[in-house]
């Protein structure tokens, strides 16, 4: 039965094929498929789809629409990228300078060499100068030396103990706060020498 049906199918296809011939227009259309799509005649379905979107068939005002548009797009993108780059450079540059400026600043010595007293240690280059500078005018109540300004950086003596913790958990800075010279932490509070 399958052989009979297969033979019938072959015969059916053979007879129908006699009447299916490509016409000249179709052959021309098919041969032109290798050429660029701009010069190709659209198939009926494509022509219909183009008719639905009339803007697709509208001729471009420029002579070579697609290439010019693509080039303009890339040029615009390049210009935008360049503008963003320049803006970033201008925005970021002052910030970098501000960061680097304190490290390069030279701190003048606290006292002149003619004045007696301990010479402050030289500051190594590049180290941030966050140490408090001794003021030439002592604050009222602050202990002063016999013949000169207080030492900028008092040496730590064995009698100087770290603040002991109170039962409440707070360090004992308490009543000695007014005696602390300006700019000195309580932990480095020098005791007046007798």
């Amino acid at each position: 039965m399958d052989d009979e049906l297969g033979a019938a199918l072959r015969d059916h296809f053979g007879r129908a094929a006699d009447d299916i011939q490509p016409d000249a227009a179709l052959l021309r259309r098919l041969r032109e498929t290798a050429s660029p799509s701009r010069d190709r005649a659209p198939s009926p379905r494509r022509a219909l789809s183009l008719l639905r979107h009339p803007t697709a068939t509208a001729p471009s005002p420029h002579p070579s629409g697609r290439g010019v548009r693509r080039r303009a797009w890339w040029a615009g993108a390049g210009v935008a990228a360049a503008v963003v780059l320049i803006a970033l450079v201008f925005v970021l540059r002052p910030g970098v300078e501000e960061k680097t400026r304190p490290a390069n600043r030279v701190v003048p010595p606290a006292s002149t060499p003619t004045q007696p007293g301990p010479v402050p240690k030289p500051i190594p280059p590049g180290k941030p100068t966050s140490t408090p500078k001794p003021s030439l005018h002592p604050t009222p109540g602050a202990p002063t030396g016999a013949d000169g300004p207080p030492s900028a950086r008092p040496t730590r003596t064995p009698s100087m103990r770290p603040p002991t913790a109170q039962p409440g958990g707070r360090p004992s800075t308490g009543s000695s706060a007014p005696d602390i010279p300006h700019g000195m932490t309580p932990s480095s509070h020098p005791r007046p020498t007798p």
Binding site: F13, R15, A16, A17, D18, L27
Partner: protein, 197 residues
């Protein structure tokens, strides 16, 4: 039947035109591969058009699908020229036809053509006897797209199971099952027609 009516032929032009093509080889090389592709189109358009019509049963749709298939061949012509571009074009055509069949089955409002419509399009006498077998024609149209593709590739293109499986991208077992179901449906349709006839 015409000499080149069979589906399965080599994509190369016949021997006579081949010698003429060799004589103008330098001219073709100077003009690029367009002439070679044109020769391919001239040699295969009829066969592939018939295959397309049998696959979709609509002349206009078949022409559109054939153009898409040739466009894809043209894009890969440099790689396909040394191989079998007609087999590639046929594979593209079959898959396009199956996709179109699925699309049409989802949208029932689209009209479905027939080989018999070709007579009406060609302006022949509608009372004349149809070109093909009417029962088989209706039965083939009623088949699902993939089953019809298997039947067309097997009985029109004379492809084996492995070649059909390669063309459709399915396994040989699926080809066998599609063939068996299609033949069962066709047999039932023909038997029913004979009973009613």
């Amino acid at each position: 039947m015409l000499r080149d009516a069979a589906c399965r032929r080599t994509g190369r032009p016949p021997a006579g035109s081949r010698s003429a093509a060799l004589s103008t080889l330098s001219t073709q090389e100077a003009r690029g591969t367009a002439d070679t592709f044109e020769e391919f189109v001239n040699a295969t358009a009829g066969r592939l058009l018939r295959t397309a019509v049998f696959l979709v049963y609509d002349r206009h749709l078949a022409e559109d699908l054939l153009q898409v298939a040739y466009e894809r061949v043209a894009k890969r012509w440099r790689r396909l020229a040394d191989g079998d571009p007609e087999a590639y074009a046929r594979r593209v055509l079959v898959n396009l036809a199956i996709d179109e069949g699925k699309r049409r089955s989802r949208r029932r409002d689209l009209p479905a053509g027939s080989v018999a419509d070709l007579d009406r399009i060609a302006g022949r006498d509608p009372h004349q006897a149809p070109t093909g077998d009417g029962e088989l024609d209706e039965a083939l149209r009623a088949l699902p797209a993939q089953q019809r593709a298997v039947v067309v590739l097997r009985y029109w293109c004379d492809l084996g199971e492995r070649e059909i499986a390669d063309a459709l991208g399915i396994s040989r077992g699926t080809v066998k099952s599609h063939t068996a179901r299609a033949m069962t449906a066709l047999r039932a349709h023909v038997r029913e027609g004979r009973t009613h006839g």
